[in-house]
Symmetry: D2
Subunit: 458 residues, 4 copies
């Protein structure tokens, strides 16, 4: 999900607007904690610095090793809501199921990921890590990991060249050869394929989290080029339910509130699409006292919306009266320029769906409309008659851009990743072929069971 | 509430329709248990029979003393959900706070009332009882009470003459003079005023439950004719909240389901009025997946509806599309003939408000419309073009006519009545003047505390 | 679902208790309308009567043809909430897609089924019909169908011999040979296999609704004995969602209210199992103000319950405090005698799951416990110390026994059945082999689309 | 509410902690917009600067008049959700009901207040304004008001001396004497009493919003010293409902999310107190999938909680298992040190009640406990065994400190204030005596009606 939406390398237009949001707002995107990351104080590239951690090691490259203590605190906060990983750590610590594992990882580097990495280490693994996104690294967390000896190569605001340099430093280490890959987006896997194909002789398996990465693996597999087993974490039940229904139920409120301070009670809202994301958004808004309409073309989902008490409408029927439009259909141009023209003054438009093309934002970049950036992630698009429509995150995924993902949700994916690594690393030779595997249901249950244990008083 | 809506003495038109409902359906109105009451087997008037209970006493007049055992079972069932009264019984049993009290009562005679009466007896009182409604008596319960020595004068299907005869038998007993009155509707009080004014010399107080009865007491008070203290139970917080919000939340579903088997999910419903009753109805229907609209003229209530997520509309805006109309405004002619003309085929109209004039039912009694009684309490009104509108309970209060009132709710009122009797009976001389008193807040709290104790695991 | 739970031929013990419920309560089980069916007035077996409808035909066998007018009214009421079938009727009426179809059907004979049968007739089919259950026939509906010329052989209270006699009369008609079978439970199919195997030469397909019937078809298919295509309606998406989630959400409230008049607000309830049925039950009770606990062994469902705000517990943790236990796990002995021993006085136990073995009812039939039938479908089981546990429907499926299934839900299955018949009847030779088919998704969508059209104001 | 909680002049301890929060977080408290206010760039006191607006006027004292344009934008954003004021502006603009009014005001100076002030101006009034709190002024808004000619004396971060200096500048203007006072907290009123008692000869009335200010007015009235009519806006129905139920329903989620990013689903939460605030908090959290317990000592509220589906418990029963404690009782020491000692690791404690003494925060300031400020408004209190309890806003009102108050809610109070000013200014002599008046119900309705108009499609 992450890599899909928030492309690592912004296109030109993207870059322009992002460059603005880096200084102002990208901190919002990756946890409030990131707001402490001070990227402005020191313009020297980390690649040009020599840093040592307190043990005298220098096998890492981060913004500022001195932020380690602050990062440690962030990691400790994250641990408190990641009880599943912590109980995995406790359970498996004696057996060291990852003893001998040498894992290279390429993921967002945040406090939550740090809890995962430290769990892998506690289970016996050696880890080298790099970032899957040039903006998302929490510098202080990278420092904290480097401080305890994990070889991290990542900082917030890498250039494209930095990005690949970091990946390379991660894989290409004299006297150390990885036997497991944990990837998010497939870039690390791609790099190894391209530069160090021989490494695959030792690799026991790849664990991949993202839609894009999984897609790339299936292509490799189809082409007969996949040379190790791979585990598709993205399509696990728990990830799907959490990234969608439960997570969106909370983040739609959070995202709207942080950007617009809108009061939900009494507002008329139309949610386009009644899949899991739509179900989460509508449930939350209904509970807060909004009057919610649903548009849906799939008749089965439409009937569900109907039975759940939402009026199923065509967007055009309500476009003039609604205060908020939320798209989550997975389709393109769900909200057209023509419809945006008819929205009322002060109404809000945002997207909770995967792609950033649900709202036809491009159609709003015309000379007669004035754009005014009123806050980070919040644009007023102003019509000639003075009407303003409030566009959030320029139509990109709202909950990624404007709210935080709860640690607890990340904990679920992280636990699943850890279990997948343990499974692939310990599987008897031959159990897994050179193919992409879905998580065995039992493992999904194990991960859920760990989570549930941490959660309820069972 | 009861007496207001369901007039004891039906007018001519009323009588006609009621005579129908007596045989078929009035059982529904007063608890499912009443369905066992077999009124057809024996046409002899109770006044013409001589009956003895098993102790040889004959100071009662009920349909059939032999039904006592069956009635006892119904009382025992009721006791299970009236824990507040039972704990009052236990707490006060030692002190006998009603020792010496001689209570005449005139209420609906049901299993729940029986639990109240037997509690009063357990607390030391002597009781003589009669019915406040000619249809509502559960004969088997009247028998069970008579069997244990309570002097009950009541049966289902009394004539008007019977009604006053019963009241008279209750009060006019040689060698026994009441010192407390428990009334529901004010008829007993009225009779004593008219026939036995001297009795008031001994009366320590009146406890009155109904709107009508309370109204009469205030009139007496205004006219300077009230000669004893009276306690207004009707306006106690607990009664108001329960008879309205909590009770209606459940009974709207029950009443609609029992009469029409309608599926709530996806139905469009308009609720007219957003007082406590409207709040209860809308909350329940929203939760069941109905799409709910509200009409409301009071701006504060309208804003509440709005904040609670209901579209506030004018009835005319939605009249053509709704599946169900529910009135609970307290006003007249909220749904007019003109609007009924525009409702769609198969739509349902019913009333949850106090008075039976919210729907202009009279306007439907015209030659061009055909009425078809399809089930008890359910009429199809058929327009010349074949359109049918389903009218429930002829516009009378739905939850009284077509669903049962949960024992638990009745328990609250009954406990309050018991506490009011104890208070008035034991108050030092002079504390209460010849006036109508609202329940002291502390007493409301006592009653609630008793209830809460029985309810939660505190 | 129906046939599974409510076995057509009660075992000896079953028969005993059922014989009681026939006279008292089976009316509850199959729609309130059934209460008009007067089975006591005429003890002559329909098989011994000669009846003619108003057109002079006698090719039917029902209780009393004179009830036709009353039955017609019931059918008209049902039509109002079956808009999907009615629009199918309108759409396909021109094309007559079932012209030439000769359908033998064996289903519950209720007003809703009648709407289906009359739709089939409107689409061009000839129909002969019989009942799949000896108790569930609405006699007046059978009469109404016979009156318009459908050959119905069914009445309420058939003997086992009557049951097979009726099926035989349906199939075995000189000069008329069926080419389609619509079955519910598989008995009709079984009879044709056994007695008239040659008939299958002309049969274009079987449409089967129930779990049991579908199971039998899969067995035939496995054994290589299925000689025509069959369509499994039971496992269609719409049926599953409706028979479970949406339907149970409403019927749990209805079933509990009609049997016990319990107030839901504030009651502590434990729901065992958090599948679709459990999700429906918990949602409804939570909305009514109950405090709901969930037991669940599947970790994914447990986590869902947790995320939906229910405390996931072990039954033993809450057994002493809950007011109501509802089982819907699909397992045996979910509530054991030991646990029933620890329930508190006045608590209610009932089952919403498929099988009647979730509550260990057998363990309660021991000498030290007294059973008291207090109302139809309601038993008090009394412990030696006087504690009473209220057992509903003797542990059988509550919503089948004690509430009505909304017409709208039946409408969905009926529409699906009609579409399946049209599909099989019109499929080009060879499209469907001698196998059991799931409904093509597109058809599920068609059926939903028809329903949605009838439902919303799109 | 504001002045009560967030004392204008912090005590010594208060000052210490506040001084920290000024730089880091007080921006959060008064709308996200405030984050743009750059207070660090210029250390010169506004009192020492000479500034001119674009019209050449200098009758104001703000941080930086050049921020006017930015402030204008913030005001325009606010206008969009303050339709009630805007429609009042439109309706009354013709009549100029405040023509001749000279209003001195002392309130928080935010974008929302600016909309009120500009409405008053549009209705004909002249206004001079000052801040009621030394931290809450949005400098850019103050600039924007000064730019259009409103005499504003206020900036963020005033000293106590500045505070009174500003008030004085506001009142003490040669050639201009106020005839109306709009106060929030009573300081302006107090200053006029003390310094310029003669001014009251011309004053037609005082409109006061806060609890504290109203309290002071009642004291004056009691002492016979109130020499003009005063209107108590604080106790108006709309303000009460909005500041409590509807507002807290949203802000509890917002406040918890912004500070802790906690996932609500599945969390066990105890809410202490079930008044309007508690009702709002519990409703929101229940809807988000939390498992919510309530503590309540008032039996009527306890029964309501119970009927609304919450387990009513004693805090000690659940203290060891809950993830979050929220206090809103209005009492002191609801959560004691002893209870904090027993909370589990990682649990969150916060206060939504008026006073900051509900959690015994003082008891946590002992040597054996370590306090760690992990984010603005978020402290980890660490026990010797490493257990951390997360304390929000040091026990002060969460929604004031850590979330924004929706513009819509402020709009309601502002509209009410405007109507109260119009009423007092235009009332015929003698209608209002020298007393404190509650808003006439009709006026509450007017204000609601205005709001509702802006809100719904009535």
């Amino acid at each position: 999900m992450w890599s899909q939406e928030f492309s690592r390398f912004p296109t030109k237009t993207g870059r322009r607007s992002l460059s603005r949001s880096i200084s102002q707002s990208s901190t919002d995107s990756y946890g409030s904690a990131a707001s402490y990351t001070d990227s402005s104080d020191d313009e020297t590239s980390p690649r040009d610095k020599t840093q040592l951690n307190s043990k005298g090691t220098s096998d890492f490259c981060v913004k500022n090793i001195k932020q380690a203590e602050f990062g440690r605190r962030e990691i400790e906060i994250a641990e408190q809501d990641m009880s599943a990983l912590i109980s995995l750590r406790k359970r498996a610590q004696g057996e060291k199921p990852l003893a001998g594992a040498k894992i290279v990882g390429c993921t967002h580097i945040t406090a939550q990921t740090a809890v995962l990495i430290e769990t892998l280490v506690a289970l016996g693994a050696q880890c080298r890590w790099t970032a899957c996104n040039i903006y998302s690294t929490q510098n202080e967390v990278a420092a904290a990991l480097s401080e305890i000896g994990v070889a991290v190569f990542a900082w917030k605001g890498e250039s494209e060249d930095d990005f690949w340099w970091c990946i390379d430093k991660c894989v290409n280490m004299e006297g150390w050869q990885p036997n497991m890959i944990l990837d998010d987006g497939g870039d690390l896997t791609h790099w190894v394929y391209k530069k160090y194909p021989n490494v695959f002789k030792k690799i026991r398996g790849i664990v991949e989290e993202s839609v894009t990465g999984v897609h790339r693996l299936y292509q490799l597999s189809k082409a007969g080029k996949l040379c190790v087993p791979a585990m598709n974490v993205n399509d696990s039940v728990t990830k799907q339910k959490f990234d969608n229904l439960y997570c969106c139920r909370e983040s739609i409120l959070d995202g709207l509130k942080r950007t617009t301070d809108v009061m939900f009670g009494g507002k008329q809202v139309v949610v386009c699409g009644y899949g899991e994301v739509g179900k989460g958004c509508t449930a939350a808004l209904k509970a807060m006292g909004s009057i919610v309409y649903v548009t849906e073309i799939d008749p089965i989902c439409a009937l569900q919306a109907c039975m759940d008490g939402f009026r199923v409408v065509k967007l055009n029927e309500v476009i003039r009266q609604v205060d908020v439009i939320i798209t989550c259909t997975g389709n393109k141009n769900v909200v057209t320029r023509d419809q945006l023209d008819r929205m009322k003054n002060g109404s809000i438009v945002c997207n909770m769906g995967h792609s950033n093309t649900e709202i036809d934002v491009a159609s709003l970049r015309t000379p007669e409309l004035t754009w005014e950036r009123v806050r980070s992630q919040v644009d007023h698009v102003i019509w000639p008659d003075g009407k303003r429509v409030i566009l959030l995150a320029e139509g990109r995924l709202l909950n990624l851009s404007c709210s935080t993902v709860p640690t607890f949700v990340l904990s679920i994916t992280a636990t699943t990743q850890a279990l997948a690594l343990i499974e692939l690393y310990n599987a008897p030779e031959g159990r897994y072929k050179q193919d992409v595997y879905l998580l065995p249901k039992k493992m999904g249950e194990s991960s859920t069971a760990l989570i549930t244990v941490g959660r309820t008083s069972i």
